[in-house]
Amino acid sequence: MTAALSDVPQLVLNGVMSGAILTVPAIGLTAIYAVLRFPNFAVASHATVGAFAGYLANVMLGWPLVPAALAAFLVAGVIGVVSDWVVLRPLRPAGLITVTIASVALMIALENLVRLGFGNALRDYDLPILRDWRFAGLRVGPQQLEDLAIAVVAVGVLFAVLHLTRVGKAMRAVADNPTLAAIKGIDAAKIALLVNFVAMGLAGLGGMLIGLDTSIDPLTGFRTLLAVFAAAVVGGLGSIPGAVMGALTVGIAEELSQLALPPDYRTVVGFLAILLVLTMRPRGLLGARSY
C-alpha cells in the first residue's frame, strides 16, 4: 500500500518535522568531522545519554521542557568532552581508522552504561499528549511545533556563535586549516574540546527531541544513527549548513518515498541517499568546506 499524490503536502510537512529534529544530531556529527576529521559514531550513544538526562530532569526533578532540554545538552556535552579526553584523544595519533573504531566501541560502552542504570524498558517523558491541529487538510502536532522551535533556536544560536563571536571564528579557522590557525595562535586542542562539547551537546539535545515524540530506551540514539549519517553525508560531511540541508532532504525523501515504495522500505532511503551522493557528488550537496 503506497500513498497517493494528494498526500504530498502532508508527507512534505511530516518530512520537514522529522528532518528538523534530525538536523540537531547531524550538526553534531558533522562539526566533529570538520574539526577532528573522523566520523564519531559515539554521537548515537550521546543522543541516548542526552535523552536520559532530559528524562531525569523532566520526570524525576519535574522540570519543564525547555530547562530539561538544556540539561540534555549540558550533560551530553560534558560526557562528550570527558569520553573524548579519556578514550579517543589518546588514540588520535594512531590515525583515522583507529579513532573511528574506538568511537564505535565508545558508543557500545556508553549505551550499555545507560542500560546498566536504567534497564531496557521503554520510558516516556512527563508531558501531556495533545491532539493534532488541523488546517487546510493538513495536520500537525503541537509537540512537533515545539520540537521544531527548539531545533530552530539551537541551530540559530550555533550559527550566530560561529559567525559573530571570536571563538566561533576560531572554530571555523581550525576546521578550515589547522596549521594556519595554529600559526595565528589558536589553540587547536582547546577548540577541539569546545567543539566536542557543543557537538555532543547537540547530539544529546537531538536524542531528547527524538524521545519527546516517542519513548526512550538505551537504543534511542543507535536507531537514528543511519539517518543522522545520511543527513551529514548528503549535506557534505564537515559542512554545518550542509547538515541542515541534508537532514531536511533525508527527512522529506523518507516520507515521499511512500509514494513509490511500501513503508517497510523507508530505511532504504537513508542508504540510497548515501550511495547516490557518494557516487555522484562525494563532497555532498554543499561541499565539505562550508561552515
Binding site: 500500500m1 522529522s18 524498558a121 501531556p128 499528549i129 493534532d132 527524538i210 511512500q258 511500501p262 513503508p263
Partner: protein
Amino acid sequence: MTFTVSRRAALLGAAALAAPRLVRAQGAKLQLGVLTPLTGAGAFDGPRMLKAMQAVAADVNAAGGVLGKQIELVVEDDETNPEAAVRAAHKLVDVDKVPVIMGTWASAVTMAVAPVCWESKTFLTTVSGADTITQLPHQGYLIRTQPNNFLQATKHAEFIIRQGRKKVFILSIQAPFTVPTQKRLTDVLTPNGVAVVGSLIYDKDKTSYRSEVDQALKASPDLLYLNGYAPDVGVVLRDLYRADYTGAKLTQSYALTEKALQELPKPVTEGVLTVQPSADVNSPAYAAAVKRLGIATPDSYEAQATDWISIVVLTIARAGQATGTAIRDTVRQITNSDGEKVYTAVDGLAAIKAGKKIKYEGASGPCVFTEIGDITDCKFRFNQVANGAFRLVEVM
C-alpha cells in the same frame, strides 16, 4: 614410575566413569531429560517450568512412580543459546540416554535441538511458537503445547468477529510472522462478513509513524490490528491518538506490557485490547497445579511444563516401556483419546492401572495434538486497558 601412576590414574578414572552407571542400574530410576533455559533471555520462564515439572515428578514418585520406578529428572541449562543447547542435548541423549527431553523455550534453540532428538529417536516437548518448528521432518518425535502463529491469528480473528467489528486494518512490523498472520486473519475474517480494508507493513525503529497512520485511517477501519513490538507499537499508539482515531485497537500483550502501560500517557492506551495465550484457568488440571505449586496464578509456561511431564509419564505407563519411539507411538492414546478424562498424572496412572482408557486434559489447554505435533486449541486471554490498567475482557 610415572607410567604406573598414570595407568593407575587412568584406571581410577575409568572406574569413576563406570560407577554412576552401575549405581543407576541398581537404583532402578526412570530418567527423564529436562532442557530449559536457566540463564539468558529465557531465564525468567525456564526455572519456573523446571519447578513445575519437579513438582509433578514428586507427586508421581510419592504415589509409587511409573512402571515401578521412581522418576529422576536430569536437568541441563540450554542458556537460551542454540549452540549450548545442542551440546546439552547431546549429553542428555548420548550419556544419560533419556527417552525424552522436555523444555526448549526459544524458537532458535528448538530448531537446533530438534534434529538431535529425532535422529536419536528421543521425544521432544517445547513451548516455541514459530510455525516452522512443527514443519521440520521430526517424524513425530516432537510436540508443542504453545499455539503457533496460525492458531493465534485464528483466535484473534474470532475475537474480532465476536466484538462485532466490520472493518479491520492490519498494521504490522516487518517480521517473519507478519505475512502468515495477515493471511490467516484475512482467511477467517472475510467469510464472516468482516472486511480487511487494508494492510501495511512498516519499518522498525522509526521515530514517527504519522504517514503510516494516515494511510491506515484513510481506509476508515473500526479496528486496527497492531502486530508489532513494544517500541514501535508505543509510537503508533501515540500517533493514533494525535490523529484522533477513536476505533478499537488490538495488539499482543508483549507489545503493550504492564511496564509500558505505566509509562505511556493514559489517553494513549485507553481502550486498547491486548491478547495472550492463556493457561486454562477454569480447568481441574489448573486447579491441581495451583495447589501443587503453591502459586495463586501459574502462568501459561508453568501450565505447559506441568502438561509435558504429565503426558510423558502417562504415555510411558500406557506403552509399558520408556523409549522415545514408544512415547511417539503412544502419546496420542493419552492426548487425542475419547477415554475417561484425567487432569493429573497421579490420577491418570491409577486409571491406567485399573485398565481404563484415559484422556489427559491439561492445565494449559485440552492438549489435543495434530499429526505434526501442534495443539489444536488453547485458551487466550483478552484484556482491555481502562484508566491505565488492564481489565479482563474474556478468556476464550
